[in-house]
């Protein structure tokens, strides 16, 4: 085949649970994470952070800190302002007028925002010296609430923007006004609230940064998960070419999207390194991480109206969505369009209107968090489906099956032009209910009610979500037509080394997803070798890895883009090996086959050449090959996988926004203690469909992990701010309560495989999951409340909220209204 053809996967080890090649070093304490890196003359940085949610910086005095022995220097916002341009903003006007810098300039806009950087000989001394920095603040009133921040008299965060609205637009497809007028029932829900939380990777942000004053190359050994995106923000801001920024990461201790927006602090470390003439080590403390790194998007939905027909067909909905970005945009307002990858959720809704507004508040900035921007929207839709079922008396299982696309509907085009590639949601639901023993638990629920309950209630919930993967970055232009992004891509480099060894480097920056293993499987199958013999270089290094502007590990796409690139590069290399072998063996190229590290003439066992022989001819014995062959080969093959995307229609907001749509179907049984409101998960089942699984064990691990994040968020984890002081009330893991082994049930998994017809290997990106546990647990609690009970309107339901829901009297507002024709 021509090396330019689209790659096509072969089978072999792909599809089997090859044990991970990265595990040995991690199990023996031999991994290398950012904080493990030491450099000669390195100093430690500690940030002086704002104690206030909103304040003008009147003065900063660093003299006492700088006078301390062992302190190497400081950096203030005023210096940053003098040295840098503000970071590029993705928002259209007026959000684009936001000025975001490496350190606070002029005023602070959230508690914990970095104000001054202090560099010293030791961690402890840097912390002591930071205490000696005196910052004089003039307090300003803070805007904390996501809706009240829109009041005309709300404190203004960014004066040039003129309001606290970062971005707003109306997304409308079909004819929702017609649907609401002609529906048999209109179900209205006045407000749903998706809370603020974060998957809090166990390793905090960290970087060791060195500005080499000899070469002016800036080395950044960080755990940033999208390094070339970071470089594109930092380069213009500090005035250095991207080619002089070398990002390196080996092992990263989890990221979940939250390590994309560490670039402002990395920029501060770069400036400090240049100023001090030393390498700088930055390692967040957990309290700094939860206070200032990135939170997931909080979103409030109001005025929801759902059009429903008598047979249960849901025609669509109308909603106003208020997304709270916190104090700075950073990756936002991309979330303002990314939810529309799954606009109708898992259902054949035809008429949709979402009036989307992204607001600014004096809280930690948001960043993409596992399930980014889709999980909020999908949770709202699942709440809609359950509320409709409950209010109109439909069985939630039957209602879902009635409204799901059916297997024969795929590829299914949504009202906004997204193409759900493949799937079978009804079958997934059947499997989930079978594994849950749904009928048995419904009987048990009835028995318990008949017995009087004994202070306990049982609830059963279902959640259906999608993990849309492999973004078409053209969707950014729906949000801001001036952004120069479209399509997507990832790069890989596969080479035959001097003695015929196969090695691979990737443009991705994995954080535990096992890229070394699945890339080895993919390449090994193409080249006919054992995956254990393929050396996939650990981690990422700008200096010698292939990359493109989209490179990194984020947004559920490695199985498609990363492995698509590895596959293409391996096939390119295979073509070169065959050409050299054919020349050496006096055969035609299409007569050559490879197996066990040998290239052979098909059907002639005598004529073969090992890969070491091929490598020898290209690298060392070059005069032995004719010019027309040696001129065509390098055995160093770079390939960029580009998914087949067109730019979306930005006026209609129409087009396919992601290549693949993995599905998650979760079901749970919960038991609620009426005296305390405590929710115990008795059974939890997760059925996944991510198309062809490259490595089933790795897939199951991602399913487990995504389930745990959602369960933790649904019941335990929430970032709440004090309305008056603007202080975060959960500043450490005591108060935040990251889910423990006792909080997460032993999730049972199952899968179906609906191969994607669009990806090169039939796989679908699946790491994020769709936040299905949030929907599932909301539904289960609602089910336990039963009858004319209160409505679950929040995605976070800790014991105290459930306790209150159980006690709401019949006179309490139900938040739901039904109008029938």
């Amino acid at each position: 085949m021509s090396v330019q053809d689209a790659p096509v996967a072969t089978r072999g080890t792909v599809g089997t649970s090859v044990k991970r090649f990265e595990d040995k070093r991690l199990l023996q304490g031999q991994g290398t994470y950012s904080d493990d890196v030491e450099m000669r003359r390195m100093g430690y940085v500690h940030f002086v952070r704002s104690p206030h949610a909103h304040a003008r910086i009147v003065s900063i005095d660093v003299s006492a800190a700088e006078a301390m022995e062992g302190v190497y220097g400081t950096l203030t916002g005023a210096e940053v302002d003098a040295l840098c341009e503000p970071f590029t903003q993705l928002a259209p006007d007026p959000g684009s007028r936001m000025e975001d810098y490496a350190l606070a300039v002029g005023k602070v806009r959230f508690a914990s925002q970095p104000v001054v950087a202090v560099l010293a000989e030791t961690r402890e001394l840097a912390r002591d010296a930071a205490e000696a920095v005196v910052v004089d603040y003039e307090l300003l009133p803070a805007s904390i609430d996501s809706l009240r921040t829109l009041d005309p008299d709300a404190p203004l965060l960014h004066e040039p923007i003129g309001s606290n609205v970062a971005y707003s637009d109306t997304y409308e497809w079909g004819d929702i006004d017609w649907a609401l007028e002609n529906a048999d029932h209109v179900v209205s829900i006045d407000k749903l609230h998706f809370h603020r939380f974060s998957s809090t990777p166990l390793e905090c942000n960290a970087a060791v940064v060195n500005w080499d004053l000899g070469t002016d190359v800036i080395e950044v050994r960080s755990n940033n998960q999208m390094p070339q995106f970071a470089a594109m923000f930092i380069g213009p801001a500090i005035g250095v070419p991207v080619s002089k920024m070398r990002f390196v990461s080996q092992d990263i201790g989890g990221a979940f999207g939250l390590k994309i927006t560490s670039y402002p602090t990395i920029a501060a470390c770069i400036l400090l390194s240049r100023k001090a003439g030393r390498p700088v080590k930055w390692t967040e403390y957990r309290s700094e991480n939860v206070g200032s790194s990135a939170h997931g998007n909080e979103r409030t939905f109001t005025g929801i109206r759902v059009a429903v027909m008598a047979d249960g067909t849901i025609l669509g909905f109308d909603v106003k969505a208020f997304d709270d970005a916190g104090a700075f945009l950073r990756y936002e307002p991309l979330g303002g369009v990314i939810w529309s990858q799954v606009a109708p959720g898992c259902y054949k809704l035809k008429h949709l209107r979402v009036e989307y507004t992204q607001v600014l508040t004096n809280k930690c900035p948001v960043g993409p968090n596992r399930g980014y921007s889709r999980l909020q929207h999908l949770w709202m839709i699942e709440r809609i489906v359950d509320v409709v079922a409950h209010e109109l008396g439909f069985d939630p299982v039957a209602l879902r099956k009635h409204n799901y696309p059916q297997p024969e509907d795929y590829p299914y085009e949504t009202p906004n032009g997204c193409v759900y590639d493949s799937g079978d949601l009804p079958r997934m639901l059947d499997i989930a209910l079978e594994l849950l023993d749904y009928d048995g638990w419904r009987e048990r629920q009835e028995e318990l009610r008949a017995e009087g309950g004994g202070g306990k209630r049982i609830g059963i919930g279902i959640g259906t979500t999608l993990d849309s993967g492999t973004n078409n970055f053209g969707q950014a232009q729906i949000m801001n037509p001036h952004l120069p992004f479209s399509g997507n891509g990832e790069a890989a480099h596969v080479k035959l080394d001097l003695y015929g060894e196969v090695s691979v480097n990737l443009g991705t920056s994995p954080q535990g997803q096992g890229h070394e293993t699945t890339a080895a499987q993919t390449v090994a199958d193409v080249l006919g070798v054992d995956p254990a013999t393929v050396h996939v270089h650990a981690g990422y290094d700008t200096a010698n890895h292939a990359y493109v502007g989209f490179s990194g590990t984020y947004a559920s796409q490695f199985a498609v883009t990363g492995l698509g690139a590895a596959l293409g590069a391996a096939q390119k290399l295979l073509g070169e090996i065959k050409l050299v072998a054919a020349t050496a063996l006096g055969a035609e190229v299409d007569e050559i086959e490879v197996a066990d590290g040998m290239a052979r003439v098909r059907g002639d066992e005598e004529r073969e050449i090992p890969f070491i022989g091929v490598a020898n001819l290209v690298y060392a014995n070059v005069a032995a090959l004719p010019d027309e062959v040696i001129d065509q080969v390098s055995l160093n093959c770079r390939y960029v996988y580009r998914p087949p995307f067109d730019a979306p229609d930005t006026v209609r907001k129409f087009g396919n926004l992601t290549l693949t749509y993995a599905a998650q179907l979760h079901a749970a049984v919960v038991e609620i203690d009426e005296a305390t409101g405590h929710t115990e998960i008795l059974r939890y089942v997760a059925v996944d469909d991510c198309g062809r699984r490259i490595n089933p064990n790795i897939v199951e691990g991602q399913v487990h992990g995504a389930a745990a994040h959602g369960i933790g968020a649904a019941l335990h984890e929430s970032f709440v701010y004090d309305e008056d002081s603007g202080q975060l009330l959960s500043h450490n893991f005591y108060d935040y309560h990251a889910a423990t082994a006792l909080d997460v049930p032993l999730v049972v998994t199952a899968e179906i495989e609906s191969p994607s017809p669009f990806s090169p290997n039939g796989a679908k990106g699946m790491g994020e999951g769709g936040g299905a546990p949030l929907s599932t647990i909301s539904a289960a609690i609602q089910d336990a409340l039963g009858g004319r009970g209160a409505t679950v309107t929040d995605s976070h339901n800790p014991s105290e909220r459930v306790w209150r829901l159980l006690r709401e009297g019949s006179d309490a507002p139900r938040h739901v209204e039904v109008t029938s024709r």
């Binding site: 044990k19 199990l27 304490g29 166990l202 989890g254 954080q511 535990g512 487990h704 005591y734 082994a741």
Partner: protein, 171 residues
């Protein structure tokens, strides 16, 4: 009265080797291991004793090394993840069980998990699933959802691996 001393001589036995260092009185044990002894296997995840990434064995008992000062370890025997098998050599049975069961993803919690699991199996060689889960309560993992870690400990205990298997979920 004289100023209190700010440095102290600390003698420990670390993974079988006698170690003597003069340390700052306020240095945490985890920083002693990571910074002073340059043993990077032990990790820090929360600074408040919740997450257990820094778990090591102190005289055979699991402790959170971010919750202790280095000077408190004076005269003690310490074991860290690096003690489980020599770097590059074959994995121990417990480590191998973690690999077989895909009980780690990013690897940040793994050293603490291994040391907690080792201590558990030493005091209870045949723990049931609930005992395993309760033992892991002080060790947070953000990647695996714990299922495969429980499975790995079952494997290491020589048990049939049952955690999260469908037959275990019937009403």
């Amino acid at each position: 009265m004289s100023d209190p001393e700010t440095t102290h001589l600390v003698r420990t036995r670390v993974n079988g080797e006698e170690v003597e260092r003069v340390v700052q009185a306020r240095q945490l044990l985890v920083h002693y291991l990571r910074d002073t002894l340059a043993m990077k296997g032990t990790h820090i995840g929360c600074d408040t004793g919740n997450c257990g990434a820094c778990t090591v064995l102190l005289d055979g008992e699991p402790v959170k090394s971010c919750m202790m000062l280095a000077v408190q370890a004076d005269g003690s025997e310490l074991k860290t993840v690096e003690s489980l098998s020599p770097a590059g050599a074959d994995l121990s049975e417990l480590q191998q069980a973690f690999k077989d069961q895909h009980a780690l993803q990013c690897g940040w919690c793994t050293p603490g998990m291994l040391m907690q699991a080792k201590a558990l199996l030493e005091r209870d060689p045949d723990p049931d699933v609930e005992t395993i889960r309760r033992t892991l309560k002080g060790n947070i993992c953000r990647c695996t959802g714990y299922v495969n870690i429980v499975r790995a400990i079952q494997q290491a205990a020589g048990q049939e691996v049952t955690a999260g298997k469908p037959e275990g979920v019937r009403a």
